[in-house]
């Protein structure tokens, strides 16, 4: 196994109103994500799971002693371009841009300057993968929670991220919608991306080949 991302002394603190000292959410001695490996990140509510994923996605600042990505030493602040190109992130409650489903999935491709014809082919493939091809020209506002989650997964997957961060991908879903999303996860892992999922869902935690990590009392435990 080779480390895709390794962070030493990762610490997240919040300024606490009325207190001279900042509140420390977590202090992780070493956080390593191996290449092409899937992890479930568990922990009680408020443990910092979502914050940890947001830090890895560049959406939250944090302190880190050393960050190595694919053998390259980086800084987290400002969030480097190499990580922006390599890391995908799906929000717990994904938001859709008010265009079309196809335009949503192709958003990142356009942002990266992929030629229109090539992007269209990749969007088609991603829609087929997520089972949302029939929604291609739909108004995203009309989608159900499960459809939005699948579109969001397709929107992230189409960029072929080397590290994909999923924040509670099934937390707001039930029944068939939840099962459809769970069915997509192993195919994401099989595609060769490293995947980190923050979740409480026992079906996701129990997926074969998935390693477990837990945030407890501000520390990270590998299991």
């Amino acid at each position: 196994m080779t480390a895709l991302l390794s962070i030493e002394k990762l610490r997240k603190r919040f300024a606490a109103k009325g207190h001279a000292r900042a509140h420390e959410l977590f202090a992780i001695d070493r956080f390593t994500i191996e290449a092409a490996t899937a992890y479930v990140l568990t922990g009680v509510n408020g443990a910092g799971k979502s914050t940890l994923l947001r830090i890895l996605a560049g959406l939250e600042p944090a302190e880190a002693l050393a960050v190595d990505f694919d053998g390259q030493r980086l800084a987290l602040d400002p969030y480097p371009r190499v990580l922006r190109d390599a890391v995908g992130y799906v929000h717990q409650h994904p938001i859709m841009f008010s265009t079309s489903v196809a335009a949503n999935i192709g958003y990142g491709l356009r942002a990266r300057g992929v030629p229109a014809r090539e992007a269209a082919a990749q969007v088609e493939a991603a829609m087929d993968w997520a089972g949302v091809a029939h929604l291609k020209n739909s108004d995203p506002a009309s989608l159900s929670g499960g459809e939005k989650q699948r579109v969001a997964l397709a929107r992230a997957k189409v960029l072929s991220p080397r590290l994909l961060l999923l924040d509670e991908p099934t937390s707001n879903l039930d029944g068939a919608a939840r099962e459809q999303v769970i069915a997509l996860i192993p195919t994401l892992i099989a595609a060769g991306s490293s995947v980190v999922m923050a979740c409480h869902d026992s079906d996701l935690i129990g997926l074969p080949g998935v390693q477990r990590i837990k945030l407890r009392d501000g520390r990270l435990e590998y299991r």
């Binding site: 994904p94 938001i95 841009f97 008010s98 958003y107 990142g108 942002a111 506002a141 992230a156």
Partner: protein, 235 residues
């Protein structure tokens, strides 16, 4: 002259195709629209920058932007007059008593409305729009375009409110433009002049045009917002 007589006279002017009347309407629309078109991109950028970023002194900037909404246009006119007067620092432009001067006034008057409304729209935007754009590799410029697209109805409301403010102001246009017939006489300055002369028919006719413009602009905004609300109700 009674109000009914004045209204009847106003319709007579419209029906007769009174050239002076239409010239005034044209100058008003032209100066207001040019001022607005020049101000809108700058103001929307400023409104976005303030609304989307955290920086030291931000609250002071927001306070100043909102306070600027209450600036009397006659004061803006006075300051601009002094700047553009022959011995003023911008006197060499020779914009005083010209349409360029009126447009400069409209630009300044529109700015606070456009900035404050855009800022409010951006502040109210769901932060996940910018985060999702960032997470999918968008540049700062693309993130801004994405967020502004998502709050486009707020930005349109800002532009329509800005237009309403500039088309209906009288103080600045009067001081900087000088109310010169056929050159800088706008709807509002003409109403002020005609009323002082006791010529109510043209004043009423021009007032009707102002009301029609206000109804048209706000009707367009309501139609656009209606589409947006309809889309949301399908959630």
């Amino acid at each position: 002259m009674s109000l009914l007589d004045a209204i009847a006279g106003a319709f007579a002017l419209f029906l007769a195709g009174d050239a002076a009347l239409w010239r005034i309407i044209w100058i008003s629309l032209k100066t207001a629209l040019v001022g607005l078109v020049l101000a809108a991109p700058v103001a929307v950028l400023i409104g976005y920058a303030i609304g989307a970023h955290r920086f030291r002194g931000r609250r002071v900037v927001i306070w100043l932007a909102q306070a600027a909404l209450s600036l009397p246009t006659v004061l803006i006119g006075l300051v601009l007059y002094l700047l553009l007067s022959r011995h003023g620092p911008l006197g060499s432009l020779q914009w005083l008593f010209s349409q360029s001067g009126v447009i400069a006034g409209q630009f300044i008057i529109a700015m606070p409305v456009l900035v404050a409304f855009t800022l409010a729209a951006v502040q109210a935007a769901d932060p996940r729009y910018a985060e999702t754009a960032f997470a999918h590799g968008a540049t700062r410029w693309r993130i801004m375009c994405t967020v502004l697209f998502e709050v486009r109805f707020g930005v349109m409301a800002a532009i329509i409110s800005g237009f309403g403010r500039v088309i209906s102001e009288v103080g600045c246009a009067l001081m900087v433009g000088g109310n010169i017939a056929g050159e800088t006489r706008t709807i509002t300055t003409a109403i002020a002049l005609e009323t002082s002369k006791g010529e109510f028919a043209q004043g009423i006719a021009l007032g009707m045009v102002l009301v029609a413009i206000a109804l048209l602009m706000n009707g367009a905004l309501l139609l656009l917002q209606g589409d947006a609300h309809g889309a949301r109700s399908r959630l």
